[in-house]
């Protein structure tokens, strides 16, 4: 399996509900980043969490990181139709950023109005 695997692959919820997506990885990381991609568009950076951090918040987003379990979660609270997109976690495993990010296949989130 790949470094940076999101779970579930697809998620459909009602507007207003919370959405939780998980990401697992295999090797030690420097940081983990979450991105969003709307259909046919580019990647939008959401949040970066470093290996020595356990939780970060940004607006309606909450990201946790458990390095002992090599996993992260992205929580979107009070979801909106505009949150419909694919969400990717990406890990930075290099000492100096030389290797680039390693992405999972993403979770496709659908918010039902």
């Amino acid at each position: 399996s790949q470094q940076g695997e999101e779970d579930p692959q697809a998620l459909s919820i009602q507007e207003g509900e919370n959405a939780t997506m998980n990401c697992s990885y295999k090797t030690s990381i420097n940081n983990l980043q979450w991105y969003r991609q709307n259909s046919g568009r580019g990647l939008v950076h959401l949040i970066l969490i470093r290996s020595n951090e356990r939780e970060k918040h940004s607006g309606r987003l909450r990201v946790t990181l458990d390095t002992s379990k090599k996993s992260s979660s992205l929580l979107i609270t009070a979801s909106r139709a505009a949150d419909t997109a694919s969400y990717f976690c990406a890990t930075d495993t290099s000492g100096g950023g030389a290797d680039g990010l390693t992405f999972g296949k993403g979770t496709h989130l659908i918010i039902q109005p």
């Binding site: 990647l43 990406a90 680039g100 990010l101």
Partner: protein, 116 residues
């Protein structure tokens, strides 16, 4: 502040032809990355520039791909000759610093390449 831009947004070429993709990073960002996503697969790292130097090109699939960043500003990725399996979305990203703990990478909208 302008984000990362890529040109063209779409390209349709025939097998055997040459295509050149361009990326303009965020102004002042020394680090520039190329990634690719082929159909049904995850986004894969191709290479990393620090200014005009190739820091890591371990992800480049083969010698049909050539990336340059003359002057340390914009970068080009040339595919010559293109093959069918080169079809996909090519993303460029940039970051301001290059440190031991990594930094946020800002992505462009991508170039959608279709090789027929």
């Amino acid at each position: 502040e302008a984000g990362v831009t890529q040109f063209p947004s779409h390209s349709v070429i025939e097998k055997g032809q040459t295509v050149t993709l361009r990326c303009d990073p965020i102004s002042g960002h020394d680090n520039l990355y190329w990634y690719r996503r082929v159909m049904g697969k995850e986004i894969k790292f191709l290479l990393h520039f620090v200014k005009e130097s190739k820091q890591d090109e371990s992800g480049m699939p083969n010698n049909r791909f050539l990336a340059e960043r003359t002057g340390g500003t914009y970068s080009t990725l040339k595919v010559q000759p293109a093959e069918l399996e080169d079809s996909g979305v090519y993303f460029c990203a940039s970051s301001q610093v290059w440190g031991p703990r990594g930094e946020t990478q800002y992505f462009g909208p991508g170039t959608r390449l279709l090789v027929l």
